[in-house]
Amino acid sequence: MSDVTLASPPAPTAIPAPEPIREHDSNSLISMRGIWKTYQMGSEEVHALHGVSFDIPKGEYIAIIGPSGSGKSTLMNLIGCLDTPSQGEYWLNAKNVSEMDDDELARIRNQEVGFVFQTFNLLARATALHNVELPLIYGGIGSSKRHEMAKQALASVDLTDRITHRPNELSGGQRQRVAIARALVNHPSILLADEPTGALDSHTSMEIMDLFERLHGEGNTIIVVTHEHDIAARAHRVISIRDGLIEKDEKIR
């Protein structure tokens, strides 16, 4: 881990100095302040993120785009609370996530974050209904309430007639919609999608992107991490990442 302070990061000459750090914005859903992520590779320190700062207000539809190795996966893991920053502050829904321990992070993932993965990541042996119920189980919700909530979530992605099917009995698009239902079922603060169309054909991809658009229209905050420009173009704001720094942050709609 880097032992430098926020005021003087050990910026190699090739890397531009990070933007000045402001106080976190308490009105934002997400507020990232001077986020560094450093990995120890043998004797060498590798900086995946070089002091990244940005804000995401509630209800925004945002794409994070960048080539592989840009640090966007690291950023996604941090936003999703699967990991904590080496340095800097991450405020999610007015809570300082960067100082939380494993159990607190698990709780934040359970209550505040809905994940959608490229490879769906459904439990292979469980039915669609059970897959969607999974976050509610760890949220400690009783079974009858759980069934009802999961059924409702599956209905919202038009899968009412597939609730007893297992993932191997579903098409790719249907699997991804089960995953989206699972992400939504606990009413999270953010819907975080990592290459959500990466394993789908173009027609199904468009269906999923239409679904995201609709969910955004219903008030959900959506963050899509991708390297595909036409997917990013569906969002309302695009943050471009390169070499661990924000290269561009623009509203496109």
Binding site: G59, A106, I137, G140, G142, S156, E218, G219
Partner: protein, 453 residues
């Protein structure tokens, strides 16, 4: 696909969407937290149990192998313990058939453990009929008294012959009560017949079996047998006592002591039997008899050797438990090793299971499972398998013990305690051997775990 507007509305970000006030959001969280505390434990445990059952059912062969490991271990321990208990009870019942109210006075103890003792005891004076007479007369707390002498002899009937029949000369007939034998057919001799040294006898059930082709007891009354070449008239048959360790306790012939003395001589030492009214009086009566006998042997108070042996039936039980307790421990220990092997099998399979399900663990962690939840899930899985294996093992063990008890001829003692112990111990084995794999699973990094295929 027809969009269902009514269902969808529930996913519109109703009050939270436009409202950015922190108050609303934290109130919502507090409510959720409350619900979490009350339900999470039970819900997660039940979920963990269901996941365990599902995973065990999906991998049937793996489950069967794990179960087998535990079943073998538990059934080995259970059957060994059950058999030992049956054996112990048989021995205890046999040796204490005269009850805890009987003790004996004899020249030598029945169990001699060293050559020096044997020589010392051989030099003692014989216990004689005179000794017995004095005890009969002087012991006020004695309830019943009698004398007996025994030896093995050949017994014949016509051309039928039986070796090593236990010939027991007794007087008076209260010795039948002291020996706790009862008449099945015929009668016992009266005092007159006893004192006049008549050649009459009361026989054990094996005599009719071996010498009269298994004739009914009442059919051999009045028949003649030859004991040591002399003819004896059978006047009574005893109820069978059964076997111990394959040795019959019914291969005996009771004759009056005076007759015994007439045939085999009165030189050999005899045994005096004393029965008290109740077990509570045993010690007091023993002291009285010991004092009487020490006076007759002219022993001073300070002399440590009595010059005779005063024993209860417990000496056999003591010897038996001394001789067998170590053997039992070793046997149970060997059986327990198979339980340890079973535990290792469970641990091995759990480790494979964790590796195979790394992805699943990653998914569960991503949607909010804490380390504790994952740990619990894998522990419950190990526990379910081993408890089930334990239950099956207990049943198999009892079955095995039943068959062995039937073959070896002793009672089957099925105790709830050993069943509970079997399931309990195997569950402990499950927790112990599941702990390390479960801990490894719980510590997996969710990012790494999600990346595996």
């Amino acid at each position: 696909m027809t969009p269902d507007e009514t269902n969808r509305t529930s996913y519109a970000r109703g009050p939270r969407a436009g409202n950015s006030s922190g108050l609303d959001s934290s109130g919502f969280t507090a409510l959720k937290a409350k619900r979490r505390f009350s339900l999470l434990r039970l819900t997660a445990l039940w979920e963990a149990f269901l996941v365990a059952i599902g995973s065990l059912r999906t991998n049937k062969l793996r489950t069967a192998l794990t179960l087998m490991g535990i079943v073998v271990g538990v059934s080995a321990v259970i059957s060994v313990v059950t058999i030992i208990k049956g054996l112990d009870q048989t021995v205890a019942q046999t040796f204490s058939s005269q009850g805890s109210t009987v003790f004996t006075i004899s020249k030598q103890p029945r169990v001699i453990t060293s050559r020096e003792d044997f020589i010392k005891f051989s030099k003692r004076k014989d216990v004689t009929r005179d000794d017995a007479e004095v005890i009969f007369r002087m012991c006020s707390s004695c309830y019943q008294t009698g004398i007996a002498a025994s030896r093995p002899e050949i017994v014949k009937h016509l051309d039928q012959k039986s070796d090593n029949v236990f010939i027991r000369g007794i007087a008076p007939t209260t010795m039948f009560d002291i020996d706790a034998v009862t008449i099945d057919a015929g009668r016992i001799w009266n005092d007159n017949e006893g004192e006049s040294a008549r050649e009459i006898c009361v026989v054990g059930a094996d005599i009719s079996e071996n010498l009269f082709q298994g004739a009914a007891p009442d059919r051999i009354i009045g028949q003649q047998i030859h004991v040591a070449g002399r003819p004896f008239l059978i006047i009574g048959v005893l109820q069978p006592l059964g076997k111990i360790f394959g040795f019959s306790r019914d291969n005996l012939v009771y004759i009056p002591y005076s007759t015994y003395q007439k045939i085999f001589g009165g030189r050999s030492s005899l045994v005096v039997f004393v029965k008290t009214r109740s077990a509570a009086e045993l010690e007091e009566t023993q002291d009285q008899v010991r004092t009487i006998m020490r006076n007759r042997r002219i022993r001073s108070v300070s002399d440590s050797d009595d010059g005779f042996a005063l024993e209860t039936q417990d000496v056999f039980l003591d010897l038996y438990s001394k001789a067998t307790s170590n053997i039992y421990l070793v046997t149970i220990g060997v059986a327990a090793i198979s339980l340890v092997v079973g535990g290792i099998v469970v641990m091995n399979i759990m480790l494979v299971s964790v590796t195979e399900r790394t992805k699943e663990i990653g998914i569960r962690k991503a949607v909010g499972a804490r380390q504790k939840d994952i740990l619990t899930q894998f522990l419950i899985e190990a526990l379910t398998v081993t408890a089930l294996g334990g239950a099956i093992g207990v049943l198999t063990g009892f079955g095995l013990a039943y068959v062995l008890a039937l073959l070896m001829g002793f009672p089957l003692l099925i105790s709830a305690a050993s069943a509970v112990l079997g399931v309990g111990v195997s569950s402990i084995v499950g927790v112990v051997s599941g702990l390390w794999p479960a801990w490894r699973a719980s510590r997996l990094d969710p990012i790494e775990a999600l990346r595996t295929e």
